[in-house]
Symmetry: C2
Subunit: 206 residues, 2 copies
């Protein structure tokens, strides 16, 4: 598609592509977080003026929300998809190995928008912070359910607590985000992931 001329609207045509602008916003928020990215940064990167941005996306908060939605269903869609792997081991394998690659990919911020978008922030941004906390908790809840299922199917060693196992994996996953932001190499993060897998308390494959 060249431009967003659907139905060749009535008034003056848009000069910019909202989808491309949202992509730009996603990458800026991804790299610098909510408070670390200003509306001026955003409009400058998009090549548009502030009124255009506000007319299309409403506010900084709603722009972040839409950028987050795009991020979750795009770059890190593999995270939710990992839950569909046939065994608990495979779930964690896919989650951690692909995360190691994702977090250190060339041409992408070495960061995770969900984990780092608003960790420590001013009181004014607590709503955004809580929104990201909810996202992380929702994933951990889903991961717990997946571990519970594996437990019920006899995949895990006796005495393994599914909720603890899920929180342990989520903790490593979040720690890997900090490692990537701090400059850790892809190979070193892959080795961290392999360390988790090497001590896996249950069946390895299926």
């Amino acid at each position: 598609m060249e431009n967003n001329s659907i139905k060749k609207g009535r008034g003056r045509p848009s000069k910019f592509d909202p989808a491309a602008s949202l992509e730009t916003a996603m990458r800026l928020f991804w790299a610098h977080g909510y408070e670390g990215t200003s509306m001026a940064d955003l409009t400058a990167a998009m090549g548009i003026n502030k009124p255009s941005l506000y007319a299309t996306f409403g506010s900084k908060e709603s722009l972040f929300e839409k950028a987050l939605e795009k991020y979750v269903s795009g770059p890190i869609a593999f995270v939710a998809a990992a839950l569909n792997e046939p065994t608990a081991y495979r779930v964690v394998e896919k989650l951690l190995l692909e995360s190691a690659e994702f977090l250190t990919a060339a041409n992408s911020p070495h960061s995770c928008m969900v984990n780092m978008g608003a960790l420590s922030c001013s009181k004014e941004s607590e709503q955004i912070k809580n929104m990201l906390i909810s996202r992380r908790q929702a994933f951990e809840t889903a991961l717990t359910a997946r571990m519970q299922q594996a437990h019920d199917e006899g995949e895990l060693e006796a005495g393994t607590n599914p909720a603890t196992l899920a929180k342990y994996v989520a903790t490593v996953h979040q720690g890997m985000s900090i490692q990537a932001t701090s400059g850790a190499s892809q190979e070193s993060l892959l080795e961290v992931a392999r360390t988790v897998l090497a001590h896996w308390p249950g069946k390895r494959a299926n």
Copy 2:
């Protein structure tokens, strides 16, 4: 000491205690990070005016630096101290169990200033971000050396890479900070720590 009247100086006496103000700054930065804490927040919490703060601490950056120094040598002194434990297992045991308690202690921010002080921030604060990255890397380097020593002393299973093991532990440690900020309970973080210890690749005690 009642006040900072050393040598009962010449001019008008100070109305505030710089040590107490630094404590206040440490706790605010600890809770809200570098960019999440404004100079106005700081002076309000200290009960003083901005010129007094600038006269005593120079700039926001240098105040953060001094607050960080106090934080490292005070609340989280146990982290460096853990390296002195007699075995690698004990080192990690102390590090992770005490961190779980520290990160969820009552009357303290459920956060870690070194890990979260400036994770994703604007370009203007990159110097602070890099300062914290250096702190984390210095600890990981020391932890690697400690694991190497344990390896040389035959404590670790054959095939265990000391650097990988140290990065794995550091990753879990950093992940626990995000968990705590997100509301994880003390018991759940202790269980994460115990999960790491339960799969420890080497001798358990000494």
